[in-house]
Amino acid sequence: MGRAMLDLLRVFLPLSFLTVGGGQSVVADIHRQSVDVYGWMSNAQFLDLFALSRLAPGPGSLLVTLVGWQVSGLVGALVASFAIFVPSSVLVYGLAHVWTRHAGRPWIRAIEAGLVPVAAGMVLAASCTVLRAAEGGAWAWAVAGASTLALMLTKVNPFLMLALGACVFLIVL
């Protein structure tokens, strides 16, 4: 039991700091560690957990919670979640403190202004990467494009777009 907890911490604490972007960047590593290195589960079990984490609402990184759950129930889920979420959160919290203390200084404004283009590129690239890997091929791009336009140009409720997306896929796939 204690050994398993230590293993969970050993895997996920470093990943807390290595996660950059949407959290997708570390899924491959979580897969490798859980299946190949520690043998917590089979490949099929991992894919099930991955599918579940997609099915549920909330941050996609809840995959980590599920891996912890698989390893040793509720305690494992809590330990793994703690390891992935808390360390980087503390770091960002510290950053927020520094930021408000120095708000308006030239270097703060420069960082904010300089990061916006990079972040824009990241968000756009992440979205397109998701679509490239998505099921449905051209349909996925079409649905995403239509929902982007509708959301930008009208006051449509996003739920309606999500429901339409589900309907389109159920009809055409």
Binding site: G58, A103, A113, A119, V123
Partner: protein
């Protein structure tokens, strides 16, 4: 510890800096939210964001619907949350919570975003693990996820519109996109190389403006 920071409001210097740009649709602050309200809003976002696109939901709830922050403030928070290590939607929740209600707000927002969906995912794992094998569920979910990309794209395009005001920012944006999407370079390298360059040029431009 002794200094409980008041909810930081958009500071005057930034307001004047962006005053030359088209006025945002909402001018915060409306009444700043309490920690409890923040928890509720982020719990709602966490529980309803099927298929991803959380930053889009956050922008909608915080900027467009409630007017708690300007779009500019939200986007610079998004930029920092993206560039910093960690799960970026959680980073963003902490950042927004802190801006709106200090340390309490950061805690309320991040717990609200993570805990309720965590409970849901565990119940799913315990009870409904088999639903992932149903083909229709699988297909519907793929459709939801595709539509949810629209939420992220919308946020990205708004940030892009902001970045496209100068040649150099535009260049950095395109370079980031191409490096990650087309060349499939590791995110860490791309951000590590381009962010300092982009920040450096922004700094020089700000200094140039100040000198004039």
């Amino acid at each position: 510890m002794s200094t409980r920071s008041a909810p930081p409001l958009p500071d005057a210097s930034r307001a004047t800096l962006s005053s030359s740009t088209p006025t945002p649709p909402h001018t915060p602050p409306a009444v700043p939210p309490t920690a409890r309200e923040l928890f509720k809003v982020f719990a709602l976002i966490g529980l309803t964001s099927f298929g991803g696109g959380l930053s889009g939901w956050m922008m909608r709830e915080i900027v467009q619907r409630r007017g708690w922050l300007t779009e500019a403030d939200f986007l610079s928070g998004l930029a920092l949350a993206q560039a910093f290590p960690g799960v970026n939607v959680v980073n963003l929740a902490i950042w927004l919570g802190f801006r709106l209600k200090g340390g309490q707000g950061a805690l309320a927002a991040s717990l609200g975003l993570v805990l309720p969906p965590m409970a849901v995912v565990l119940v799913l794992a315990g009870v409904f693990a088999q639903v992932t094998h149903i083909h229709a569920v699988h297909v519907a979910l793929a459709g939801i996820a595709a539509a949810a990309v629209g939420l992220s794209l919308q946020t990205g395009l708004r940030a892009a519109r902001r970045a496209a005001r100068g040649m150099l920012p535009l260049l950095f944006m395109v370079a980031t996109f191409v490096a990650i999407f087309a060349l499939r370079l590791p995110l860490l390298w791309v951000v590590g190389a381009l962010a300092p360059l982009s920040i450096g040029t922004a700094y020089l431009q700000l200094r140039g403006k100040a000198a004039r």
